[in-house]
């Protein structure tokens, strides 16, 4: 009956409102700091009496000491890169805003001008130069070999015939490609995963830069590192800009001043002497490293749930409409629904997420918030699957129900909403619950565009603590509890719906 409709519509309206607020800049603070990696937090801290020119920096805050989330204190993004950026932009009269996202999303963010520049320990490579521009280098790190303590892998020669890992797209990748006689080279996106590969014996060594290597060996007593010879050809790290950005000369000039005055070196010393990681003496799993991070991770529950709810409700309503299209007597509606379903089912969700988040600002000139883009992508995708499920549910409702409604003179819309749909939903409830469970877990994909959900937060903590398993196990347990709660709620709902049997 109408109550049924209200259950669906009221939360949806509320959620659209909430995401609108979270996405827009109006409320800034609370939602932004919850949903984005740090989002507007820094900008909010800066005085607004400046000329008000805001400049946005993109970074992937999982690479201490260059950039990391200060998860123990408020969740701001901190690090060497951030301080250099602050110093430069302040002098140029900008208010700095930091947008945290996955490393793999940074170049797309530059190209679509979602950010004005990127500082993320990004090394200059010929490949990247094709699509973006770089400032002068601000730091060149020394490469090291990280390996098990007793492995004896301390020189480049010792690596001959060994399995060596390296982070994809890093300076170290280029260095490794130039090494001769390596047994096998493995490239992965995330450093913590490479460290895991050593521990599980699938790799013999990983090539990592010095500051990061120190962090990992501190946190993992079974590992040690050894310096490699400096590489004179290494171009080091630089600030990245969209192709042809007018900011580059000004940034280069300020950077040069910082180098000349010794300010840059002071910052480097400050950050490289700060032990941002944890010292652990245990070889295995050590949950004590999560001390201080639990609150930060728990905040992700809200984000994951909000996001799941938005996409589930949106997907359900849109999927319901699509299912009506599919059983409609109007051929173009049927075609539309069929093509829609085949496209959204036939392409990867991650790709849809990318296109919506980075494509919307270009196509519609609307700065869509990560949370909204993710809700939209997942909702649209989920609707494609649900439309089939709901269609099946509708077809399974006895034809006589329709005839009885028609014979009573009940209009089509009322009939569908109040008579056919409730019965269809009851039929497909188990399938709907499955879809929701899938959404909760798939939601971890959104971390790629910087939504600070559970998974993203686990990655951040993983990077901060230089320990691979602990944060993952914690969020794994949280996901499990969430899904368990969801399924028992669904069980309650199902019993309630079955009271008419």
């Amino acid at each position: 009956m109408s109550r049924w409709l209200k259950w669906v519509v009221t939360p949806l309206a509320a959620l659209i409102l909430v995401t609108g607020i979270a996405g827009g800049s109006g409320f800034g603070g609370f939602f932004a700091s919850l949903t984005g990696d740090a989002g507007l937090a820094l900008a909010a801290g800066e005085s607004t009496s400046d000329s008000g020119k805001t400049i946005i920096m993109g970074t992937s805050p999982d690479y201490p000491p260059y950039e990391s989330v200060d998860a123990k204190n408020g969740g701001d993004i901190i690090g060497l890169d951030v301080e250099i950026a602050k110093a430069i932009t302040e002098r140029l009269g900008y208010t700095l805003e930091i947008s945290g996202m996955d490393f793999s999303g940074l170049i797309a963010a530059l190209q679509t001008e979602r950010v004005d520049f990127v500082m993320s320990a990004m090394s200059v490579t010929e490949e990247r130069k094709q699509s973006i521009d770089f400032s002068d280098s601000y730091y060149a790190a020394r490469n090291t070999i990280v390996a098990l303590k007793d492995s004896g892998l301390t020189t480049e020669d010792a690596l001959k015939g060994k399995r060596v890992g390296v982070q994809l797209g890093s300076t170290q990748e280029e260095a490794v490609m130039k090494m001769e006689g390596l047994g096998e080279i493995k490239k992965l996106d995330k450093l913590p995963n490479l460290i895991l590969e050593i521990k599980s014996g699938r790799l013999d060594a990983v090539i990592v830069e010095d500051a990061v290597a120190a962090g990992y060996t501190d946190a993992n007593p079974d590992l040690s590192f050894a310096m490699l010879e400096p590489n004179p050809e290494d171009l080091g790290y630089a600030i990245a800009f969209p192709k042809g950005s007018e900011l580059i000369p000004a940034f280069n000039a300020e950077l040069q001043k910082m180098k000349d005055s010794g300010e840059l070196q002071t910052l480097v010393d400050k950050w490289f002497n700060t032990k941002s990681g944890v010292k652990s003496t245990k070889k295995g799993i050590d949950f004590s490293v999560l001390n201080g991070y639990v609150g930060y991770i728990f905040k992700g529950i809200f984000v994951t749930l909000l996001f799941t709810l938005v996409s589930a409700v949106f997907g359900f309503i849109w999927g319901g409409i699509l299912s009506l299209f599919k059983i409609s007597s109007i051929a173009p509606l049927r075609w539309f629904a069929t093509v829609y379903t085949s496209i959204f089912r036939g392409t990867p969700l991650l790709l849809q997420l990318f296109l919506i988040y980075y494509g919307t600002p270009q196509l519609f000139n609307y700065d869509i918030s990560p949370l909204m883009a993710a809700g939209l992508a997942f909702g649209l995708n989920s609707a494609a699957y649900l439309s089939e499920t709901i269609r099946g549910g509708i077809m399974a409702v006895d034809k006589g129900q329709r005839e009885a409604a028609i014979a009573l003179g009940i209009p089509y819309k009322t009939m569908m909403i109040s008579i056919i749909f409730p019965q269809a939903v009851k039929n497909i409830l188990p399938a709907l619950v499955n879809e929701c469970v899938a959404l909760v877990k798939e939601s971890s994909l959104v971390s790629i565009i910087g939504v600070a959900d559970l998974m993203r937060r686990a990655n951040v903590v993983q990077a901060n603590t230089f320990k691979a398993f602990e944060a993952l196990l914690l969020v794994g347990a949280i996901y499990y509890v969430l899904v368990l709660t969801l399924t028992s709620l669904a069980g309650l709902l199902e019993r309630r719906m079955r009271r008419s049997d």
Partner: protein
């Protein structure tokens, strides 16, 4: 009040109704009988356009049903229909089944509709079942609720499509009693039925259909005493 002219219905090449013409007067009770597959139900379902005729016309009180411009929603509000398998809405209580259309389609207030619904339940002898779900009812009770649901829309005409065929024998009686009561109240009714005794006692006119044709139309006494066609005679021989 109901005027059927040259009604034809076919599914593809398969003709189900052939050139049926007849009129039903206000207050007339028509029992439609005939062998299975003769098109009885299809004929009945054409009268509120649950089946779309492929030829001919149907006019009710001057409204041409077969005209595509006719608002069938309005027409159907005036024609109640009772199905062989009841088709109660399983997710609604008995009283909600009855008040749904009056409140949502006719705009009656909830209180008004409920009062009226309870009155109708009283009439079909089920006042105490108002707040239970249909799954808790017997077949006979379900059919009586279905009748009350149709009556709640204040129809001028009632169509019954084999209302007792799906019932256990001991429940047939209670449903027929309700229909009989309705017939005596002056409602225009068309009833597709296999209950010959009931047809004979309760109807004003018998329609005998065979192979999609309206072969005989007569008052019950005449029809049952001396059927005109050889086909009807043979049919009566088999069922009586």
């Amino acid at each position: 009040m109901i005027k059927v002219e040259h009604l034809n219905k076919s599914y593809g090449k398969n003709a189900v109704l052939h050139d049926i013409s007849t009129t039903v007067d206000r207050g007339e009770v028509v029992a439609i009988i005939g062998p299975s597959g003769s098109g009885k139900s299809t004929f009945l379902r054409c009268l509120n356009l649950l089946e779309t005729p492929t030829g001919g016309s149907i006019t009710i009180d001057g409204t041409v049903l077969t005209d595509p411009k006719t608002d069938m929603g309005l027409v159907r509000q005036r024609i109640g229909m009772v199905f062989q398998h009841f088709h109660l809405f399983p997710h609604m209580t008995v009283i909600d089944n009855i008040t749904f259309a009056p409140t949502r389609v006719k705009g009656l207030s909830k209180e008004e509709a409920r009062a009226k619904g309870l009155q109708l339940l009283e009439r079909v002898g089920l006042a105490e079942k108002a707040d239970v779900y249909p799954s808790k009812l017997s077949g006979g009770q379900k059919q009586r609720v279905a009748i009350a649901r149709s009556l709640a829309m204040d129809p001028d005409i009632m169509l019954f499509d084999e209302p007792t065929s799906a019932l256990d024998p001991e429940m047939v009686k209670e449903v027929l009693a309700v229909i009989r009561d309705l017939a005596s109240s002056g409602m225009t009714m068309l009833i597709v039925t296999h209950e010959m005794k009931f047809a004979r006692e309760a109807s004003d006119t018998i329609y005998f259909l065979d192979a999609g044709r309206l072969i005989e139309r007569a008052d019950p006494e005449t029809f049952f005493a001396s059927p005109q066609s050889e086909r009807a005679a043979r049919f009566l021989e088999q069922v009586l």
